[in-house]
Subunit: 622 residues, 2 copies
């Protein structure tokens, strides 16, 4: 059987495989937040010709079914088919995301008072060549030269020594030796070589960011970013953990993300004329599941009570072990994790925020695909994961999408006509709604009286913007020629669950240390999401605590910033270890107070309006 | 084009490839001491049909050429061919060689006063399982249990940790942990497991021997042996070094010998119901070239002045690095080498002989494919390589072969009729002559007056046993139906060169320390060759020094015996390091005295008959 894709290639269909799987096996990836289980309703394709067995139509509407829309993951071809794949169903992987180069990153490095002490050091050696009367082996000669520099006891990995004989002879016995801080030989480099390159890598659940750094001076040479292609197997960490336990899934996840890194790297090296062997140091920062998957550790215990990772503190292994295509002996340092749901990205974030050194109490929030918070100062640190879920990334939202071109990112609703005014990224025709758009929309719907405190639509409002859909009422944000963009009651519920989890997490964490919110001096909002977030609106819906706006700081991707610091400085790596060691991890899912706090926060903005005086006052005014 | 082999398969001929290469690529290996360069004349095949371009007929005789014998390495098929491969041209690889199990090996171990201290140690650990209130990671738990046993600071290779989570849970948190003496984790083993397995491996130029040892008690579980399949690329180390420098040759040599080891291992493990993961310790012993090739190091500097190996003292790497199919984290200890032509096999041999602890002066001789000697006592040790060449293994001898079935191993010649009486291994029809047979034959030819002191045939002797061949006169040892077995003057020259090199080596080494032969208390003859050697005859031809017979000890394969000692005991590994460090390596090729000694020894038994009083007296009597 063959599947012909309109404006695309024709592929062979494997018998008994779903259309989703067949497309995937042929390198055509569809959005499938649920990992292809018929739940998210995102992997839609249109059948133009051919027969298929359809196991389920999931969340598809009758009109869609009538117009031959199918869920690819629930469709099993039974003859040759011709299909069309709508743009919004295509998973754009490997798509470069623009990121501004931080020119100030070296200033940042200097500001933390870290000297340049990268994980790989360099020593210049002049080795005595052998003669017929002095026939010690190459390695003995190298060891002698090292011990003269006070570097006795060096360890030599097998891969390092394989190139020794020819390197010594090619370089005429005058070499630079790169070695790790714990004395393991990494590479032999020509004596006149000054530049040294390393990588800081942030492995997010959604995106992978790579900094190529010249670590002889700390200069950021280039930045690359891509979506984490593990998204093929589901949007959130739980779906990926489930996939890892399925035959071959673990290896698939590991190679997928390692390949993403290599795909980013290759053009970077070409652009700057850097040989892969010249890159000989790496720092990886990611949440606990991403870290385990990167190193190929089965993450299943993370998901099962008592939620224990295999390891939090990673030994330094080699790039060859990891499969990153740079110098195979390059040490790879993994920013330490704290627990199953608070990982190295948060440790790197706290490190970059410097809150662990500050006597004032700060709150650190990373509202990315997951939702992690940390609170503390130079004396104590507490942390928790809120399991907010990836709804702010568009997952679990009917027309949810990431904050890329075509996403509705701001919404204003007229309190009289209930007509919306939309801000769309790229000023283009809207194709969906992103996290900040949802927060805006819900805040506006609430204040204009379209939804109540529980997020339910008011009945009998005079507007044709509210219609009745398959899952109950929904608000039409945009009337499109092909499809409308709506926000359903179920979507609103999902966002409310996420924001309630975040707020409840903060409350519980503070209560654990007997503090109230007003003691918090500073709130750091980290993560890509932070860049677009409207703090006022986030307070309105009760996601962020009602504190003076000047206390909030958006500090961007602190996972990569912290990884950069660790790449450049032994002091920073030591601080990262200290942060991970000092952090008290609170498992919210078993915390007695959490469920109460969560239930109370499942309102707009909260059952206790007094916690949100600004909102209360504004609401009263309306 | 196709090549059909009589009584064999039909293979495709690659255009422009020699018949030798084509056969090799199809898994049919011919004897080719020279590595397929048209020099040794051993890769003979008979053409029955078809055309071919013949670049050279090398040492083939006219009758052979007339009867369609070709050198496969010099023959390039130009049409379909039918060929016949004579038995003696077939390289029997993977053939198991019988070896007697040393039941006394444990007594030997006890005799050297070495406790059982294998390179891998075992500790029993009870690890506290995680609970919802105690959610430290698996690795933190393991570290805690280790530090309670005084084993803090353990290093964890990536491969080890990959199985941690499932092992801990499967074994219910009660485990045996195997780890190396320098604290690197190797394997997790069920708590009730007592047996522990390791391998002692002797990688000879000609044979590979593997001891499977239960190192919980030192018991020899099984022994396996095979020819070193690197013989496909030539008989001696020099030919293999040359092959290593040819495109892909190094990797080919490495994988070939590693595969030999795996091929020996696989049925052994099956026989004793041992899982590959249960074998977690290895000791390798081999000459310098074999050691470098095993680990994949380019050996070319061994062959080029100033003859320097890449390394003599090997770090401990893992079986996974080496490619041996046992526990991938198993540490592989390589017995240290001394110099380019005195390797770990000699260090292991001296270790096994114990001469390094004895106040008496001993001479250690390993007359295998190469020819290494060591002399010394508990105060000093000298060593040298004689470059005797592999003629005692049959290489470079017209009808030379190894000491296997069909080999003439002893010869008696009637001094009146010059008719020979032959002893043949396996009492079968003779197909060639092995090392001990050659020594016997030359000694007999000399004493019966067939050849003179220079090894040249006497003229005008009344016998039809001496005929005139292509390379001068030759003696017919055996008249065969198909072919005769002869010893040519060139063969005798080759043996004389080898024996002269060995004797000259011993002389020079003793002169270097200002000692004469009579000070030597004991002579250890090691190597497979030693088993068949007739000391009297070896003295007669001047290969061994003329000392009382009771001073000679045959100590067999001491390379494997020393490897076994190192596998079982830290004390023995330390002694091996000390021996390698103490040995003064004399490079005979640049020693001023060597060439004089060598020239003087190119006689039967020697130009100076007074050095061989026994032989002199016997000769006078005749």
């Amino acid at each position: 059987m063959e599947i012909r894709i309109v404006n695309g290639k024709t592929i062979k269909a494997a018998p008994k495989e779903s259309l989703y799987k067949t497309l995937k096996d042929n390198g055509i990836y569809l959005v499938a937040s649920c990992g292809g289980k018929g739940l998210c309703g995102k992997c839609r394709v249109r059948r133009l010709e051919g027969d298929a067995r359809v196991e389920s139509s999931g969340k598809l509407k009758k009109e869609e079914i009538d117009s031959n829309i199918l869920l690819a993951c629930m469709t099993f071809p039974e003859s040759d088919m011709v299909i069309e794949i709508p743009e919004e169903s295509k998973l754009v992987i490997g798509d470069k995301i623009a990121i501004s180069k931080s020119k100030d990153i070296r200033n940042f490095l200097h500001s933390v008072e870290a000297g340049l002490e990268p994980a790989v050091r360099r020593v210049y050696l002049e080795i005595t060549p052998p003669t017929i009367d002095d026939h010690a082996s190459d390695l003995e000669r190298l060891k002698l030269a090292l011990s003269e520099k006070g570097l006795a006891g060096m360890r030599f990995p097998h891969g390092f020594l394989l190139g020794l004989a020819s390197s010594l002879r090619t370089l005429n016995w005058k070499i630079n030796l790169d070695y790790t801080e714990d004395l393991s030989a990494v590479a032999i480099v020509p004596a006149d070589k000054i530049d040294r390159y390393g990588l800081a890598i942030d492995i997010g659940t959604t995106t992978v960011v790579v900094y190529l750094v010249n670590y002889s001076d700390g200069r950021l040479v280039d930045v690359g970013m891509t979506y984490n292609s593990q998204m093929r197997f589901g949007d959130d960490v739980i779906t990926r953990i489930v996939h890892a336990t399925e035959g071959g899934g673990l290896d698939e996840l590991r190679t997928t993300v390692v390949n993403d890194i290599n795909v980013i790297l290759s053009p970077m090296m070409e652009r700057h004329d850097i040989n892969s062997n010249e890159i000989d140091s790496v720092v990886i920062s990611g949440n606990t599941t991403m870290s385990q998957l990167f190193w190929g550790f089965d993450p299943s215990s993370i998901r099962e009570e008592p939620y224990v990772p295999t390891l939090n503190s990673y030994p330094v292994w080699s790039a060859g072990n990891a499969g990153i295509k740079i110098h195979p002996q390059a040490p790879v340092y993994t920013v330490p994790c704290v627990g199953s749901y608070v990982g190295g990205d948060i440790v790197a974030g706290v490190l970059a925020s410097r809150l662990h050194l500050n006597p004032e109490i700060s709150l650190f929030m990373d509202i990315g695909t997951n939702g992690e918070i940390a609170v503390g100062n130079n004396e104590w640190l507490m942390t928790a994961a809120c399991s907010a879920g990836p709804c702010f990334e568009g997952s679990g939202i009917r027309h949810g999408m990431r904050a890329t071109e075509g996403a509705v990112e701001s919404v204003k609703i007229d309190p009289v006509t209930f007509e919306p005014a939309l801000g769309v990224i790229g000023d283009s025709v809207p194709t969906g709604i992103c996290g900040s758009g949802m927060i805006d929309a819900i805040s506006e719907l609430f204040f204009s009286g379209v939804i109540d405190q529980r997020g339910k639509f008011m009945k009998d409002l005079k507007t044709d913007r509210i219609i009745s859909g398959d899952e109950g009422p929904e608000y039409i944000l945009y009337r499109g020629e092909i499809k409308d963009i709506v926000l359903t009651e179920v979507d609103i519920e999902n966002v409310m669950r996420a924001k309630a989890a975040i707020y409840a997490g903060v409350s519980v964490l503070l209560k654990e240390v007997g503090l109230s919110l007003d003691i918090v001096d500073r709130i750091y909002i980290a993560g890509g999401f932070g860049n677009y977030l409207n703090v006022d609106k986030a307070i309105m819906i009760g996601m962020l605590p009602d504190l003076p706006k000047e206390k909030f700081s958006f500090i961007g991707n602190t996972s990569i910033a912290g990884a950069y610091l660790c790449l450049m400085s032994a002091k920073m790596r030591k601080e990262a270890e200290e942060i991970a060691g000092r952090m008290t991890y609170v498992e919210l899912s078993v915390s007695r107070g959490f469920m109460d706090e969560y239930m109370s926060a499942l309102f707009l903005p909260h059952t206790d309006m007094n916690l949100f005086p600004t909102v209360r006052d504004l609401y009263k005014k309306n």
